[in-house]
Amino acid sequence: MSSIYREMRLKKLAHFWTSFKSNGMAISGALILGFFTVAAIIGPLIFPYNPMEFGTVETILQPPSTTHFLGTDNLGRDIFRNLLSGARISLMVGILATLISMFLGTSVGIISGYFGKAIDSILMRVTDFFLVIPWLPLVLVLAAILGSSVWIIILVIGLTSWAGTARVVRSQTLSVKERPFIERARAIGADHSTIMMRHILPNVFPLVFANTILVTAVAIISETTLSFLGLGDPTRPSWGMMLHYAFQSGAASSGAYWFFLPPGLCVVLVVLAFTFLGYAFDEILNPKLRRR
């Protein structure tokens, strides 16, 4: 019987794949992201990079050449290699921060929407608070208090970016909650946690998923911005850190475009890829958009 089971799953996947592959944004997003993921995973293995290893005076800010595909930075380090290892950091920050944010946002959203009443009011005021509070200043302050290691940056971004998800999940929960199968679950005696985990979560998840991908994009930009403003982790040179150093060393005004453009473009591309995917999933998973 499990073969039927597998077959059904496959059918569903196939269906998803059909919509996915006919969606230009999804494909471009997946390709770009795939490229960077592969680059982040195997890149540093082929082109190892040690941020503590510096060049010599002669190798400072060299334009692209055959030995250094993308030239060198102000400390004579290879930019191409730095980009590859930066991809790891940036992607890691984006994804881990998103996981935190997703967990918080989904829990708050579901709990708030499901229980309603006082719990909802309180949680929603907290959510509102995180929603209205100017995000970057808050992150800046928090990062300044807590310090600037990658883990703290991840935590800070995660802790401050869940409000949107919570709202979306809550409103979805409110509508799922009204659907009769929830009442049915209550009628057969399911308790709150079962209902939330088994009935509400799976039904809000597609939305969370699409939303999450967008949060990842935001998280990566956030990391970049924080690093650019000097609050990044210098021992783990992400793309944002590269931009920070490029800007601090005046690369933009001194014409060292190879120092300044590639990390920025990488950020743009990766964020774009996540945004593409987010919107594409939204389009694929959101039946309303699909209808037309």
Binding site: D128, P137, L229, A252, F260, T275, L289
Partner: protein, 322 residues
């Protein structure tokens, strides 16, 4: 009915403000360096000054009394004295408000208009070249770090093309023969920062507009309206837009918080003499009273903007008036 809705929204906003106050209070007390240490760090602080501060902040009182004192000071408009500028925080802030309001306001207006136009075009001509072009444009600008975009714009428009100045709000120290000349000068300086900020915003507005409009266009009442024989422009203007505007309003208001983040970057890149930079300077200098003041101001304005959005929403959508 309407008054109740308004009342509810105001109460909600007040609740949020209360959260903000508590948070603000707690945050700036757990920040390294309590107010006393800040004063004492000043090598020349006299014993009296320390006493005065102690009293001012009620540091010898219990926490709720301290919170009460904090609230009392707030309500009298006393945000303390900036450590950095040695001036009342309110005074420091007031001097820097206008440039930010000008820039953010313009950018928001521009981005809203452009985003709506692009979004409407994209949704109406879904799948066409226009849709793809505006979608790609929005997504690409949306994905750019604000500061990076700013630097690129300087490189293109100031350095290469020489169309606009690189930085500042007015040509420094220029005395202008008349008001008009000054406005012209300010306008030239405004272009790039406003462009940067709006470009980053346009993306989200376009996408939101497009998506909500697509949603709206599939609604049954749009079919009804089409069946009535109206042409496309009328349909969009009279039937689709009023409905699609609803989520837009919320997004625009919520975005204000985001825009403020953007101003920090834009003001840094373009040396714009506004609040964002002031805030960043205050942060770097650990000027807590100033930081707290700016933080409060920004948060309050975002909350007020949200309240206004909610009220507008209520005005536009008869359903939520109840």
């Amino acid at each position: 009915m309407k008054r109740q809705y308004l009342g509810k929204k105001i109460i909600q906003s007040l609740a949020t403000i209360f959260f903000v106050l508590v948070f603000n209070y707690v945050l700036f007390r757990i920040m390294p360096g309590n107010p006393l240490a800040m004063i004492m760090r000043n090598p020349r602080a006299s014993q009296e000054a320390i006493e005065r501060t102690r009293e001012l902040f009620g540091l010898n009182q219990s926490w709720y009394v301290q919170f009460g004192i904090y609230l009392k000071h707030l309500f009298t408009g006393d945000l303390g004295t900036s450590f950095l500028y040695r001036q009342p925080v309110t005074q420091v802030i007031v001097a820097r408000i206008m440039p930010t309001v000008l820039m953010v306001g313009l950018a928001q207006i521009l981005a809203t208009i452009a985003g709506m136009v692009l979004g409407v075009l994209a949704a109406w001509k879904r799948g066409s070249r226009i849709d793809i072009a505006s979608l790609s444009f929005s997504l690409v600008t949306y994905s750019m770090p604000t500061f990076w975009l700013g630097i690129i714009l300087i490189a293109v428009f100031s350095v290469s093309l020489r169309w606009f100045p690189t930085s500042g709000m007015l040509t420094p120290g220029q005395s202008f023969p008349n008001q008009l000349a000054m406005i012209k000068d300010a306008a030239r300086h405004l272009v790039l920062p406003v462009m940067t900020l709006s470009l980053v915003l346009i993306g989200e507005y376009t996408l939101t507009m497009r998506n909500t409009l697509l949603d709206v266009l599939t609604e049954d009442y749009m079919t009804t309206a089409r069946a009535k024989g109206f042409d496309d422009t009328y349909l969009i203007r009279k039937h689709a837009l009023p409905n699609a505007m609803l989520p837009m309003i919320t997004i625009i208001a919520i975005n204000l918080g985001l825009v403020i983040g953007g101003t920090i970057q834009v003001e840094t890149i373009f040396s714009w003499p506004g609040l964002g930079r002031l805030m960043f300077d205050a942060l770097k200098a650990r000027d807590y009273p100033l930081l707290q003041g700016i933080f409060l101001l920004i948060t309050l304005s975002v909350i007020v903007a949200n309240l206004i959005a909610d009220v507008t929403y209520g005005y536009l959508d008869p359903r939520v008036r109840e």
